[in-house]
C-alpha cells in the first residue's frame, strides 16, 4: 500500500470518529434551562414571601405552583424553538427523561405537602435540594461531566444542612445553592455551548461524494 493510500484510509477512520462525536454533541445544549429554573426559583421565593419577610415562604400558596408550571411551559416552548434541525440521541432522551420525571415527582410531592398542611420550610428545601442533587449526579454520570457532579455535591450538602438550619438559615442555603448550581453553572454551560459551536463551525468543511 502506498503512502497516499495509507493516508487516505487513515483520513476515513478519523472522519468516522469525528462524525460520530459531532452527532453526539447535540445532546449538551441545555445550559439555558439551568438559568431559567434558577430565576424561576428566585421568583417563586420572592413572590411567596412578599409582605411577610424574605425568609418565610409559606404565605402565598399560589407562588410555587404557578411559577413552576410557568417554568415548565417556558422550558417546553424555548426547547422546541431551539431544537430546530437537531437530531435526537439516546443520551439526550435519557437526560430529558431524568429531568422530566424529577420535575413531576417534585411537583406532586411538594404540592401535596403544601395542601395537606405538612409544609415545613427546612424539609421543603431539603427535598428540593436532594432531588436536584440526585438528578444532577445521574446526569453527570451519563454525560461524564465533572462540573455537574460538583453541583450535585453542593445540592446534597444544601439538603443536609437545611435539616439542621433555622428557617432563615435554610433560605440562605437554598438561595446560595441556586446561585452557584443554577445561575453560575447555567451560564458556564451556555458559554461552553457557544464556544463549542464556534469551534465546530470553523472545523466544518463540505463533504463531497
Amino acid at each position: 500500500m502506498s503512502n497516499i493510500e495509507e493516508q487516505e484510509l487513515k483520513d476515513r477512520l478519523s472522519l468516522i470518529e469525528n462524525m460520530i462525536t459531532e452527532g453526539r454533541r447535540t445532546t449538551e445544549s441545555w445550559g439555558w434551562t439551568f438559568v431559567l429554573w434558577g430565576v424561576a426559583y428566585y421568583i417563586a421565593i420572592a413572590w411567596s414571601t412578599t409582605g411577610f419577610g424574605w425568609s418565610l415562604w409559606g404565605h402565598n400558596y399560589l407562588a410555587w405552583p404557578v411559577t413552576m408550571i410557568s417554568g415548565c411551559i417556558l422550558t417546553i416552548w424555548i426547547g422546541t424553538r431551539n431544537v430546530g434541525d437537531r437530531a435526537p440521541t439516546t443520551i439526550g432522551r435519557a437526560i430529558s427523561a431524568l429531568w422530566m420525571t424529577m420535575g413531576i415527582s417534585m411537583f406532586i410531592l411538594l404540592l401535596s405537602l403544601s395542601l395537606s398542611g405538612w409544609f415545613n420550610q427546612q424539609a421543603f428545601v431539603a427535598i428540593i435540594a436532594a432531588m436536584l442533587g440526585t438528578t444532577n449526579a445521574a446526569s453527570s454520570f451519563i454525560l461524564r461531566w465533572k462540573m455537574q457532579f460538583a453541583c450535585a455535591v453542593v445540592w446534597w450538602a444544601a439538603a443536609s444542612l437545611s435539616c439542621f438550619a433555622s428557617i432563615a438559615g435554610s433560605s440562605i442555603i437554598f438561595l446560595v445553592a441556586i446561585f452557584f448550581c443554577q445561575i453560575v453553572f447555567g451560564i458556564y454551560g451556555m458559554v461552553n455551548d457557544s464556544r463549542r459551536r464556534r469551534a465546530a463551525a470553523s472545523r466544518q468543511g463540505a463533504f463531497h461524494a
Binding site: E6, R12, L13, I16, M19, R86, A87, P88, T89, A206
Partner: protein, 98 residues
C-alpha cells in the same frame, strides 16, 4: 499470506461515510441537520442518501410537523453492521500503521 479485505464501495464515498457515521450516533436525523453537519448541497446530499437507502443502510420517514414537511433518516441494522464491517476492514488494511 491472508487476503486483504475489500472496502464496501457504497460506504467508501466520503459523504456517504460521513452520513452513516453521523447517523450511527443519533436515533434519527432531519435532512437539514445532516446538511448543516456535512456542509453539502441539497442535491448532492439527497442523491447520496438515496444510494444509502437503496442499499438498505438508511430508512426514511416523511411527515408533516406543524404543516411543514420533515424528512427523517434513521440508520438500519444492516447499515450499522455494514459500518462496523467497514471499520474492521479499514483497520485490517492499515494493520500496524494505526
Amino acid at each position: 499470506m491472508p487476503e486483504l479485505p475489500e472496502l464496501n464501495p457504497v460506504i467508501h464515498g466520503k459523504l456517504r461515510l460521513a452520513l452513516l457515521s453521523l447517523l450511527s450516533g443519533v436515533e434519527e436525523a432531519e435532512f437539514t441537520w445532516l446538511r448543516s453537519r456535512t456542509g453539502s448541497t441539497d442535491g448532492n446530499l439527497g442523491a447520496q442518501l438515496l444510494k444509502l437507502e437503496e442499499a438498505g443502510y438508511v430508512a426514511v420517514e416523511k411527515k408533516f410537523v406543524q404543516r411543514k414537511p420533515q424528512t427523517l433518516y434513521r440508520m438500519t441494522e444492516s447499515g450499522r453492521q455494514a459500518l462496523t464491517d467497514y471499520v474492521q476492514a479499514l483497520k485490517q488494511l492499515l494493520g500496524a500503521a494505526i
